[in-house]
C-alpha cells in the first residue's frame, strides 16, 4: 500500500521501500508461517472456511481498487464475482474443472462484464455511479434468476465436477480443505500483488488523480472515462479470478452470488477492513464472515452485531480496524508522518 487516502482529500504516496522496515525475506518467511499455521491446527471445515474468507476477500480487494483509489462506490460488484462464478460452474460441466481453465474463464468473464458495465457507468461518479452499477447488477441478477435452463434459477447450480490441478505427471483433485485453502492462498497473494502493482503503476496514480483533481486531470489531457474503464476492467479481472474458485469451495453457486446484497456485503467488509489499504479487504472479510458464522450460533440477532461493528468502525476507526487498532496501541507512525 504505497498510497493512503487520509480522509481529507489529500493523498500521501511514497514508494513501499521507504515505509517498510522488514526485509523481503523476513516478510516471505512470516507469510509462509502464517499460511502454514492453519494447516497444522485447523480441520477440514475451518480450512474451507478460511478458503472462503480468502476468496471473498480477494473480491473485496478488487472492489478496493475502485472505492479506495477511484472513489467509485459500486453496488454492482457482485456481477463480476458472481458472473465469473456462474461462468466457471457452467463451463466446468463441458470443459472439466481444471483450475487453470476455470481461472481463465473467470478472469475473462469478469473483464467482459466490467467492460460492459464500464461502458454504461464510466462517465458518472458518486451517486449516479452507485445507482447505475446497482441497476446493471440487478439486470444481471434477473437474468440469472429466471434463466432456469442455464443457471438453475433460484435453485442455483450444483453437481458440477470438482476442481482439479493438472501437473505434468498427475491430476490432483482439489476437493478437500487443505487443497482449497492452499489454492486460495495463492489466489489471494497473486491478486494482492497484482492490485498493488496496479495502484503503484502510472494508471493507478492517474486513477487517484481522477478522484482527487478531476478537472486538473482533464486539463492535463487524461481521459477520465478511459481511466475509470481500465480500473473497472482490472478490478473485474481480479474479482473474476476469485469468482472462478468460489463455486468449488461448496460445490454450489446460487443467485445470491450476483445479488446486490452481495455487493453491499463487500462494501461493508471493505469499510470494516479499511478502505484504500488493500490488505484490509481480507481482514474485513474475515471479521464479517466470522461474525456471521459464529455469532449467529448464539443469537438470532447477529446482523445487529455486524451493524454495530460497522457503525463503530466508521465512527472511531474510519480507516479500518487494523489502522484503528494500530493507532489505539500507540503506534502512531502514520499520524506523525502526516503532521
Amino acid at each position: 500500500m504505497s498510497s493512503i487516502a487520509d480522509g481529507t482529500g489529500r493523498v500521501e504516496t511514497r514508494p513501499a521501500s521507504q515505509r517498510r522496515s522488514l526485509p523481503v525475506t523476513a516478510k516471505l518467511a512470516l507469510l509462509a508461517l502464517a499460511t502454514a499455521v492453519p494447516l497444522l491446527f485447523a480441520g477440514d471445515y475451518q480450512l474451507r472456511f478460511l478458503a472462503e474468507i480468502l476468496i471473498i476477500g480477494t473480491a473485496v480487494l478488487s472492489l478496493d481498487l475502485l472505492v479506495g483509489f477511484g472513489g467509485l462506490v459500486s453496488l454492482g460488484h457482485a456481477v463480476f464475482f458472481g458472473g465469473a462464478a456462474y461462468a466457471a460452474a457452467i463451463a466446468s460441466q463441458a470443459l472439466g474443472a481444471d483450475i487453470v481453465v476455470m481461472l481463465a474463464v473467470g478472469i475473462v468473464t469478469g473483464m467482459v462484464a466490467a467492460l460492459l458495465m464500464g461502458i454504461v457507468v464510466m462517465r458518472t461518479i458518486a451517486l449516479f455511479f452507485l445507482i447505475l452499477s446497482l441497476i446493471v447488477g440487478q439486470i444481471v441478477w434477473e437474468v440469472v434468476f429466471h434463466w432456469r435452463e442455464v443457471t438453475g434459477g433460484a435453485d442455483g447450480l450444483r453437481g458440477f465436477p470438482v476442481l482439479t490441478l493438472h501437473t505434468g505427471f498427475a491430476t490432483i483433485p482439489l476437493n478437500n480443505g487443505v487443497a482449497l485453502y492452499l489454492a486460495s492462498v495463492v489466489l489471494a497473494l497473486a491478486a494482492y500483488l497484482a492490485a498493488r502493482s496496479f495502484v503503484t503503476a502510472p494508471i493507478g496514480r492517474a486513477l487517484l488523480g481522477t478522484r482527487e483533481r478531476q478537472l486538473r486531470m482533464s486539463a492535463l489531457g487524461y481521459s477520465i472515462p478511459r481511466i475509470r474503464l481500465m480500473a473497472l476492467v482490472a478490478s473485474g479481472a481480479i474479482a473474476g479470478a476469485a469468482g472462478a474458485l468460489y463455486p468449488f469451495v461448496n460445490q454450489y453457486v446460487g443467485p445470491n452470488a450476483v445479488h446486490w446484497t452481495m455487493s453491499a456485503m463487500m462494501i461493508i467488509m471493505l469499510v470494516i477492513g479499511g478502505v484504500g489499504s488493500l490488505y484490509g479487504a481480507f481482514i474485513g472479510s474475515a471479521i464479517y464472515l466470522g461474525i456471521q458464522t459464529y455469532v449467529s450460533s448464539y443469537t438470532d440477532r447477529w446482523q445487529l452485531v455486524v451493524g454495530l461493528v460497522f457503525v463503530l468502525t466508521v465512527m472511531i476507526m474510519p480507516k479500518g480496524v487494523v489502522a484503528g487498532l494500530k493507532a489505539a496501541f500507540g503506534r502512531r507512525k502514520d499520524a506523525e508522518r502526516r503532521s
Binding site: 475451518q46 474451507r48 434459477g153 433460484a154 442455483g156 450444483r158 460445490q251 454450489y252 449467529s296
Partner: protein
C-alpha cells in the same frame, strides 16, 4: 430402556471381541458412543424472509425434545440450531460447520428448497444422516435424492397433484385460472396442478404470475374480476399470501371466486391467524392440518405453548423429532452403522403428527396422507383449517427408472 441398554451393549462387545481384531478395536468406541450425548444439528431460517417459519420449526423441535425429557433411546440430546438466512451459500456453510466442527450425529431442518438442494452434495459426501424437515422441491425426491437424506415432508408435486384431482372432481371442469408467485416453488406447484387437472380433462384459462414480494396485486385482481373464473388455483407463501388474501377481500373477490391453493397459502399459523376472516372458505391441499386426527394432541399442546394453532413448519419441526426418535430407537441409539439406521427406518412406517409415514425406499421420501382443508369458523369464531377429505398414501413419482 435404560435397563435393557447395558445388556445389549455387553452382548455386542462380547461378540465383537470374539470376532476379528479390527472389530475388537471398534467396539470400545461403539460402547462409548451410547453414553455420549446425541448431537442433533438443525439448520433453519432465523433471519431473512422465512424468519417466522424458522422460529416455528425450531419451537416444534424443542417442544418434542422437551416432551421426551431431552433424551432419545437413553441418550441425552444436544440440539444445535443454526441460521441459514434462507440463503443457499449460508446454508452450506452452516451444514459444514455442524458436520465439521460440532461433529453432530444427525443434521436436520431446512425450509428453503434452494438450501436443501445446495446442501445435498455436502451431506452426501459426508454420508451424514440428514432429515429435511420442509424443503420440498420435486427434484429433492428425484434427481437430487441421496442415500442418507430422509425426507419426512411433502414434495410440491404431492400438493399440486392432489389439488388438481380435487378441483376437477369438485370445483369444475372448466373456468379455472391460476395465479402464482413467480419463482421456483410457485412454478412447480402451479405446473403440477395444471398437469394433473388437464390430464383429468379440465381446461385451464388465463395463468397469471406475480413476482416474489409483490405488494400490490391490484392489476392481477382486476384481471380476475374481468375474467370471472369459476375458481382459482394459487400459490403464495408467507407475507405474499397474507397480502394476496387481504386484497382479494378488499376487491370483494373472496367468496365470489372459489380459491384453492397449496398448503402455504392458508398456513394455519403463518397466514390464517394473520388474515382471519379473509381466509374463510378457502381450500388447500396440505400434508398437515391442525384438525387431522393424528394432530389432536399436538395441536392442543402447541396452542398451550405458543398461543396459536400450529401451521406446517411448527408441525414439521415436531415431526422431524418424531422421525429421528424412531430411527434412533430402532437401532438402540447406536448410529455407527448408517446402513442399519436406514434399513430400520425404512422397514416400517412412523406414526407422526402428519399421519402415518412410511418411506419410499427409492428416494427416502415420505409417503404421506394429503389433507384437503377448508377454512371454516372453529371454536370462538377463529378460522381453522378443517379436514374435508384425505388422499391416502400419496407417493411422489420419484426418480425415473
Amino acid at each position: 430402556m435404560t435397563e435393557r441398554f447395558p445388556l445389549s451393549r455387553r452382548d455386542f462387545i462380547a461378540s465383537a471381541g470374539a470376532a476379528a481384531l479390527t472389530s475388537a478395536i471398534a467396539a470400545p468406541a461403539l460402547a462409548q458412543s451410547a453414553n455420549k450425548p446425541l448431537k442433533i444439528g438443525m439448520v433453519t431460517s432465523l433471519s431473512g424472509p422465512f424468519t417466522a417459519l424458522g422460529e416455528s420449526m425450531r419451537a416444534g423441535m424443542q417442544m418434542f425434545l422437551a416432551e421426551n425429557g431431552g433424551k432419545l433411546a437413553g441418550r441425552a440430546v444436544e440440539l444445535i440450531v443454526e441460521d441459514d438466512q434462507a440463503k443457499p451459500d449460508e446454508g452450506v456453510r452452516k451444514f459444514r460447520k455442524l458436520l465439521g466442527q460440532d461433529n453432530v450425529d444427525i443434521v436436520s431442518g431446512v425450509i428453503s428448497s434452494a438450501v436443501a438442494l445446495a446442501v445435498r452434495d455436502v451431506v452426501t459426501e459426508a454420508k451424514a444422516l440428514t432429515f429435511i424437515s420442509a424443503g420440498s422441491a420435486n427434484d429433492l425426491a428425484r434427481k437430487a435424492a441421496s442415500p442418507f437424506v430422509f425426507r419426512p415432508t411433502k414434495t410440491n408435486w404431492m400438493l399440486g397433484h392432489t389439488a388438481g384431482l380435487w378441483a376437477y372432481e369438485k370445483l369444475g371442469k372448466t373456468g379455472c385460472m391460476t395465479i402464482g408467485a413467480d419463482y421456483a416453488a410457485g412454478r412447480e406447484y402451479i405446473g403440477d396442478f395444471v398437469a394433473t387437472y388437464q390430464q383429468q380433462g379440465g381446461k385451464v384459462g388465463k395463468q397469471l404470475w406475480a413476482p416474489l414480494g409483490t405488494t400490490d396485486f391490484g392489476p392481477l385482481l382486476t384481471t380476475i374480476a374481468a375474467e370471472k373464473p369459476e375458481f382459482i388455483y394459487s400459490f403464495f407463501a408467507g407475507s405474499d399470501a397474507v397480502r394476496f388474501l387481504r386484497q382479494m377481500r378488499e376487491y370483494r373477490l373472496s367468496g365470489k371466486v372459489k380459491l384453492i391453493g397449496g398448503g402455504a397459502l392458508f398456513d394455519q399459523e403463518d397466514v390464517v391467524s394473520a388474515v382471519k376472516e379473509a381466509a374463510l372458505g378457502g381450500l388447500n391441499t396440505c400434508n398437515q392440518s391442525p384438525t387431522a386426527p393424528s394432530s389432536a394432541a399436538f395441536t392442543k399442546a402447541y396452542q398451550a405453548a405458543r398461543n396459536v394453532m400450529p401451521g406446517e413448519m411448527g408441525t414439521a419441526g415436531y415431526v422431524t423429532g418424531q422421525v429421528i426418535k424412531a430411527a434412533v430407537e430402532r437401532v438402540q441409539g447406536d448410529l455407527s452403522n448408517k446402513e442399519k439406521v436406514k434399513e430400520a427406518l425404512l422397514a416400517r412406517e412412523v406414526e407422526t403428527v402428519f399421519g402415518p409415514m412410511p418411506f419410499d425406499p427409492r428416494n427416502n421420501q415420505a409417503i404421506l396422507d394429503i389433507y384437503v382443508n377448508e377454512i371454516k369458523e372453529g371454536a370462538g369464531g377463529v378460522p381453522v383449517n378443517q379436514v374435508i377429505h384425505t388422499y391416502k398414501a400419496v407417493r411422489d413419482p420419484g426418480p425415473v427408472a
